[in-house]
Symmetry: D3
């Protein structure tokens, strides 16, 4: 099976994050650490936080950020219908300008589900 869009995304992300850390001053490092802190279990469960991160990335229209949160939502057990309802809110708030990102978000989601089905087989 050839590498899919998720695989390619994660490889590139990992490689470039090394580069970011090579240049990073203390401030940048702290900001990255705050970023992971934001999604940790709290009064709101991580699953809801990842949906919040997804919809924020969606209306701001950043494909890489959307892909990252799509993966995280999948890992947190978000269902197809929960995803659809969350993206619909992003779609309504952000307008048709988000449609190309919706397409690519679902493409990533579909790939995650196929991989998972293979693994569970």
């Amino acid at each position: 099976m050839s590498a899919g869009i998720i695989d390619e995304f994660q490889k590139q992300r990992e490689e470039l994050n090394k580069l970011v850390m090579k240049y990073a001053g203390q401030g940048t490092k702290r900001f990255y650490s705050l970023d992971s802190q934001a999604y940790r279990e709290g009064a709101l469960p991580t699953k809801v936080k990842e949906l919040l991160g997804l919809v924020a990335s969606f209306v701001l229209r950043c494909d890489d950020c959307i892909k990252y949160h799509i993966i995280r939502c999948f890992e947190e057990g978000v269902s197809d219908q929960e995803l659809e309802e969350a993206l619909f809110i992003g779609h309504i708030v952000g307008g048709t300008i988000t449609i190309p990102h919706q397409r690519r978000a679902l493409q990533a989601w579909e790939e995650l589900k196929k991989w998972n089905a293979l693994l569970e087989f």
Copy 2:
């Protein structure tokens, strides 16, 4: 007690919505109806959906939209800490450019809590 920011917002919103409906074609009316549909209980509870709407409005930095969802979150029983965690995600994703909106969001939230305390008294 003088009218607060919530009261003023709701009065103006109601009045101007009448104007929107005066001019609205069929398409605009349908879009408004889709908008309310998006937040209805589904696979995701309305409370989560209102938090999604809040964070989407927050990173897109629209004060009126934020105020609207702050009121809805309050009505859905969102707690102080849940609100803080949701806004923190918006803040981290959207950056310090969201700070003035964070200030005004909490100003509205504080007012809602004060009114509520008076009513419960």
Copy 3:
């Protein structure tokens, strides 16, 4: 009759433009001149160009820019229905985050029509 939102907008705009010109270097002056050039009659009539400027300002959600183009559209003879159709496109493309700007755009439009009715009386 007390000054309306259009009147107040135009007074403030005129006054602050003087300030901009006091500080403006040659580059800023040329940019302002390019700006008016963009809306001059060409292959596209000025009326269409003003609708383009309106919808661009609408999806970028700048109330002052919207107000300016609402006035210009009114002067160019845009009808109620033409305005509604143009704003509907902006609304669909830009999403519900544009709703507060739609409200204020129609508020300005309504005021322009009332003044005009008074003048024609």
Copy 4:
């Protein structure tokens, strides 16, 4: 003749739209239907509406949306000069940050014209 950027765009768009519809709830389907409704002949001709959609997509800087409206503008008989004037308004309103999108918009336009010239030959 190898597939150009328009061809590739349309194939991918069609394929991914199927995926969107596979996941789409009633709300998403209605939003897609509202979207096509927005550009139908009305008080404003479809050609003007497509120019409005193009400029809205241009200032919001979405390449896929721009490509879609570039194709539609071409189909509606927009001339080179009309296109240039519309994009100039988008360029002035949205600033130099739109330049990369202007380049790619004209690349798509140029390809459409070449194909058309071949077909008319």
Copy 5:
């Protein structure tokens, strides 16, 4: 002398920051601290960093953020011409949609200069 726009801005900012800190979790507090750290003298002088913060706020079109950095630029000894050149870059990159913010930025700048002239008298 009645309170000007700078005075009013600072009073409201101070008051609402107290509210933010009342609700702030550890993450929010750390983000506020990173924010001040970003503008500290380093390889780049604070004056240049404040100009960077100003132009970033300007193209993202946040009046409160612009006002804050206008004050900081004034404190750091930015000259009229340096300000004009920095805002011109923001204006060119961000387009005419920034014009209302340019007007209000210069209004704040002008007020700062007048107050300063009074104090130096």
Copy 6:
């Protein structure tokens, strides 16, 4: 040595700029000329102006614009630490949504440094 991302960017940019100029009316040409004027040595040195252009492009999240200013900053002798501090401001102001652009900005910077090391050898 195979062509890197900088090389590919510059080739495509040059080619598409020819296309832009083929269609450009007088207004577009003047805007392009204003654009280069904005970064000329003035009260602010070109190096600072390029950093301003970089941070503006960074918070507006345009990869091509970022790449262009990364190259210009490199040519103007910006150091690693100056770059890191400028991008950190962009990162803090614009939020984690800028992270994918930060990755690609540093990837371009790293490539410029490698080429330069080869040339100086």
